[in-house]
Symmetry: C2
Subunit: 310 residues, 2 copies
Amino acid sequence: MAVYTEIPPAQLAAFLGQYELGELVQLEGIGAGTENSNFFLQTRAGSYVLTLFERLEPAEIPYYLHVTEWFSQRGIPCPAPIHARDGRILGELCGKPAAIVQRLPGQSIEGRAATEPEIIALGELLGRMHLAGKDFPERHRNPADFSWCQEMARRLLPKLSPDERELLVEEREAQKFWPRDKLPGGVIHADLFPDNVLFEGDRITGTIDYYYAGDDAWLYDLAVVANAWCSQPDGSLDKDMAALLWQSYERVRPFARQEHGLWFPFMRAAALRFWLLRLEARHFPRAGQLTAQRDPEEYRRILLRRQEFC
Amino acid sequence: MAVYTEIPPAQLAAFLGQYELGELVQLEGIGAGTENSNFFLQTRAGSYVLTLFERLEPAEIPYYLHVTEWFSQRGIPCPAPIHARDGRILGELCGKPAAIVQRLPGQSIEGRAATEPEIIALGELLGRMHLAGKDFPERHRNPADFSWCQEMARRLLPKLSPDERELLVEEREAQKFWPRDKLPGGVIHADLFPDNVLFEGDRITGTIDYYYAGDDAWLYDLAVVANAWCSQPDGSLDKDMAALLWQSYERVRPFARQEHGLWFPFMRAAALRFWLLRLEARHFPRAGQLTAQRDPEEYRRILLRRQEFC
């Protein structure tokens, strides 16, 4: 259960009163999501999502809302923020930063493997997202970039088993020497897992949960997606699916010369990142964290299987 | 048939190339609409509407696109413009100003009378639209306002039958003395007929065709809607429906003291406007106008029946 905050009706009414969305019909907590309290909000005007930000610094939040507004305006299906009467997109509710965003149609495919048409749609969408974000004017560090990985590895080492420690040291050393700069890049979603993509048939109707977005190499985002969508239960890569993803992405955003040869190293780097994120949640849980933790082992297996290629 | 312009595939591809919407899947002309060439545009990214502006001055068009973007950002369902890669919302195609906007779900109820829940939803939506537009920063004259009516009446008089002429002279004189200024107002849609409102069940999922929008008294917009949605075939007002409309609107936007007593005069003024618009289309047809003309008689009947009340 990921709804942390209970909202008293009077406070909700006062908050909604700042918007032009009419009377409340229903508010329903959403179980998914790990960082915020999310609610399906139905008013006389339509269906929205209400988010209370539980983790992010208030100063950081506008970036994510601006990114989704920008993408939405460019035809990338994502939850554009709703403006209050005074134009603001970020308010306060129950003492927390709060925003209302569009609710998108469609369903995630979570719980089953993606089909070929779904992977093709995903590759194309990711390419379009990258190109659409090219001129986005705000800069924002990828909050779990390489330097974060190095620091998190340092903090985690004393907590790990000997096997884990050996793998982590090996990866940290190996990845130090991979090129990262001067690759084509811009805004990346950085967390486009199956639960963050909504489909109607083979068509993508929504991409959600932009709260790990930041600036980084585009290839890195593609590698995150390849690991999350094209891995088999033993961690090995489904190469046919990964090839489809790559090809459909490339049709939209052709690769630059300096990106060739980095596809497998980047999948390995992306696997390390999610292994570290999950180890962090296990070994340094945040106070009040109620969310089901994701298994770090899944990404240790993926990481080990990616070592086979580079 | 309201599709005026045939678009050569190469020009369409070049135009689409400015957006991040992926490859064309299908383009299909839309028969409805009287002022522009409209097409359902399907790309790999989703479903949109492509509009070629056939009548409006290029300098006027940004206003309408800004209005819909503003309303959309405030939760009023309407076709927000899609931005090209360089951020522009207005381009050029086949030598004409052209824009891509969102395609909204839902169906118009055209061809049947509205139900009570639909009228209630409509009144609420109109109230919300008026309040949502309150701080919209651009000013734009209602292109068919009272002074337009006076000028159009002058041009039409020599063309009309004696009966029509008598009615027009009477209305023109009577309406000169009605208060128009200092009433609460702002952006009004001014043409919210049944074909411009999309429903899913009783819920409004879209308001379209903002090309008559401008600044005017809010009550005037409500009067346009009352005539268009609550008139019986003989032109008489369905008073139960009009009362429902009024009440549901008022729940969202309470009336000011100076608006009381003006409801019936404004329905009469709005009826005159649409009678004149339709007479104009009949007597001064524009070159190349292919659209089915709407019958002025319908609005002459409405106008005559509104005289009964004031």
